[in-house]
Amino acid sequence: MDFFLQLLFTGVGIGAVYALVALGFVLIFRATNVVNFAQGEFSMVAAYLMVVFAVDLGWPYWLAFAIAIAGMALLGAIFNLLVYYPLRNRSYLPVLISTIGASIFLMNTVLALYGPQPQVLPGWFDTPGIQLGPVYLDSQYLLIIAVTLGLVAFQYWLFERTLLGKKLQATSQDKEMAALLGIPVAAMIMITFVYSAVLGGIAGILVAPVLFVSIQMGSTIALKAFAATIIGGFGDVAGAILGGFAIGIIETFGAAYISVPFKDAFAFLVLILFLALRPQGIFGERVAEKA
């Protein structure tokens, strides 16, 4: 039972990381119908920015965080202009490949600038964690879980309670109709990219103290987060969050009770099973093409 609780905490913590990255996937997918394969790289770049500002330059943590997030917003905007915008009128395939190109570019640019050694980013708290009975709670994971839940609430508020959110939603549902209603579609898509780069950045900065900062940190997380997005049903925010937690938990328990070496296969097996049995995801997205 002690082990079970410890594993559960770990699963939820890892799951929260996937969920956070999955949130960024879903937003861009809803706005543009495109899966952004460079979403994980947003996390990686943000973590390196933090290393530069907070460790190398020695700025206060909050200042480094603020500047890193501003940097991510800028990256999101540039990404939109260079990687997505020129292809907005083509099918999903060129855009998808373009984001793969962007992922390769970002990873290797950081490699060229910073070298391949993993880096250390200190956590937010001085206390590494708390012992709660038999279970050890890593403080950084507690923070990640809290921030993920907070961002879900924020996102709900943004989309359901604000005019901007309504406009974003309208854009994601029907661009032509949104344009007819006078919503500046290009601006809405820009906001989406900026917001999801920031989300990815927050995820990266939060996990960096746990997983260390490395070139590959984004891509390993992003693949699982992508699987979470699909399990949750593409384009469904609540589904992606649940999918993220589900994969984190399945993976941790699968590793503990079935096989550690095959750990990475569990998420994908679950995904294929899901696609075969319930392609519409947890909450169901219509998969059928419009006639």
Binding site: I97, G101, F226, P261, E289
Partner: protein, 588 residues
């Protein structure tokens, strides 16, 4: 094989033989031989991608995994089980083919991003298995001392074998677009709905494309294993799938020449640019940026870009076509009437009984009955939102009926998918034109002519071509057969769509608002065309808002309002009914 392809085949064979002979005799140093070996085997896998991506418009992010299946079949088979090379190669291709088909069957219905994700998953799982199933795969150590067939034991001879395989699969991929299967793939890529309406089994076509792609991956992998006599899991990772994909895109997915160029460049460029590599990551960063630039500025790849300069001019005007025969063979109708319980009234070819289609709570079509008699022009009219197009979509199988039954020639087709209904004799056009835009007018119509169950066309390339040409001639576009769709005006595109339906020799022709968007002279031409079709005795079900056109061509009217039938009968009679006038004409 048609006569047109023969000189091409001879030229190709000549060039291929020269290359194989060069590979077999010219003594190269190991470095050059290794590069050529890698290029030839990778290119075969890239050919596969050009089928899936270029011809069929689907994505495959696991080509390295299929490559690995072939490579490991040859590696493990020859090294551990001492099986003959050829058997291992065949088994490898078969496993890759089967894996591709299976993966396709499980997800191709979903398409797009799901396919991307599932192929990635497959790639990751295979890598994990290759690494961890140590007892079987030797794990991360890889498989060494892989065997070669006795005849090709030397490096030189094996290179010649790889080049020969490259040439043969290249020929296959080069000719594929002009075969029935290839046309079906292109049709699916251009427009899935139109493809299924033209009688193509979209799902099966996609699965076939996927399986062929995987099979070529397996072939390339098997030869790769023989060539380098060592394989290990890290050679076939996700990043390698991306490299293969980029090779395909860089060269251009529309042609095997593009695949070969892309493969060659992506193997050679890293060799040439080694000086860039003194800064780790710099080369790959440029590579990543180049991928984006290619996608944006060279959507058709290098070969597509260059090829445009050399593309042959449109072929000379075709010989005059034979007149288009539209009536089914004499015996057909009679046999059909005797066929089943659905054949209620004499001469009824299309019967709709109690048809309903609900979208959630919305009853778009709610218990509609009508019968279309043989040789008659039957119109379905009603105000906007009355359920006309929905009815047509349910009849042709794009939507599944909520209730009710549909009979064609007395055969119940209610449960059949769209393409099977086309084989059963329905052919349609769409409200917003759905043509295969990358193809010529003739190719569009050939696809229509090719539908299963078209009794007027014997098998064979020539018969199809002349049937298609006759159909184009019939709608007045015979002289522009070899132009691609975008060069036609809107009105002419509509005519191509009608020609495509006519070429299929349908039992019933279904036209969904053919006059929409046409100017008055085009409408006049359409009216004449419909008259000529009707004069040939073909049954037509037409939907349109243009009452002049409807009153002019239709003999029988069915009027819908709010998803229900409000009138049915002879045209003149129905148009006099007061509720029709208020519901429909009054409202317009």
């Amino acid at each position: 094989m048609n006569a047109r392809a023969l000189p091409g085949l001879l030229a190709y064979a000549l060039v291929a033989v020269v290359f194989v002979a060069l590979a077999a005799t010219v003594k190269t140093d190991d470095y050059v031989a290794n590069i050529l070996m890698q290029a030839a085997t990778y290119a075969i896998a890239v050919f596969g991608l050009s089928i899936v991506l270029g011809l069929c418009g689907q994505i495959n992010l696991a080509q390295a995994a299929f490559f690995a299946l072939g490579a490991y079949a040859v590696g493990l088979g020859t090294a551990d089980y001492r099986l003959p090379f050829w058997l291992c190669l065949a088994v490898g291709i078969a496993i890759a083919l089967a894996a591709g088909a299976l993966l396709g069957v499980s997800t191709l219905r979903l398409g797009g991003h799901y396919l991307a994700m599932v192929t990635i998953s497959f790639q990751q799982i295979l890598t994990v298995v290759l690494i961890n199933a140590i007892g079987f795969t030797h794990g991360p150590d890889g498989v060494s001392s892989i065997g070669r067939p006795a005849l090709f034991a030397s490096g030189q001879a094996f290179l010649a074998l790889a080049v020969a395989a490259f040439a043969i699969s290249g020929y296959f991929v080069w000719r594929l677009p002009d075969t029935r299967l290839g046309r079906a793939m292109r049709a699916v890529r251009d427009n899935e709905l139109a493809a299924s309406a033209a009688g193509i089994d979209v799902f099966r076509t996609k699965v076939t494309a996927f399986a062929l792609c995987a099979g070529l991956g397996g072939l390339g992998g098997g030869l790769f294993a023989g060539g380098f006599s060592y394989v290990s899991p890290d050679q076939f990772a996700f990043s390698d799938s991306i490299v293969l994909l980029t090779m395909a895109l860089l060269g251009g997915v529309s042609s095997p020449i593009g695949s070969a160029i892309g493969t060659g460049l992506l193997i050679l460029i890293p060799e040439w640019l080694r000086f860039l590599k003194s800064v780790p990551g710099l080369y790959l960063a440029i590579y990543g940026a180049a991928v984006i630039l290619i996608v944006i500025f060279m959507p058709d790849g290098i070969w597509g870009f260059v090829g445009r300069l050399f593309r042959p001019r449109a072929r000379a005007a075709p010989a005059p076509a034979e007149p288009l025969a539209l009536r089914p063979a004499a015996g057909d109708g009679v046999a059909a009437e005797a066929r089943g319980p659905g054949a209620s009234g004499a001469g009824v070819v299309l019967e709709v009984r109690g048809l309903a289609k609900y979208f959630g709570g919305l009853k778009a079509v709610d218990g509609v009955d009508f019968s279309v008699r043989r040789g008659e022009v039957h119109a379905l009219i009603g105000p906007n939102g009355s359920g006309k197009t929905t009815t047509l979509n349910v009849v042709t199988g794009l939507y599944r009926a909520t209730a009710g039954r549909i009979f064609v020639d007395g055969v119940d087709v209610t449960a059949l998918p769209a393409h099977k209904r086309t084989s059963a004799g329905l052919a349609r056009t769409f409200q917003n034109i759905r043509l295969f835009r990358s193809m010529t007018a003739l190719e569009n119509v050939v696809i229509g002519a090719e539908r299963e169950g078209n009794t007027l066309v014997e098998a064979g390339h020539g018969a199809l071509q002349s049937r298609a040409r006759a159909a184009l001639e019939f709608v007045g576009l015979g002289s522009r057969a070899h132009e691609t769709v975008p060069s036609f005006s809107y009105g002419h595109q509509r005519l191509i769509e009608i020609a495509r339906a006519l070429a299929a020799n349908p039992t019933v022709l279904l036209l969904d608002e053919p006059a929409a968007g046409l100017n008055s002279s085009e409408k006049k031409a359409l009216h004449d065309l419909l008259d000529r079709i009707a004069a040939e005795g073909l049954t037509i079900l037409i939907i349109d808002h243009d009452m002049t056109l409807i009153a002019g061509v239709a003999e029988h009217l069915t009027v819908l309002n709010f998803g229900r039938r409000i009138a049915d009968g002879e045209t003149a009679e129905v148009l006099r009914q007061p509720d029709v006038v208020t519901a429909y004409l009054g409202a317009s």
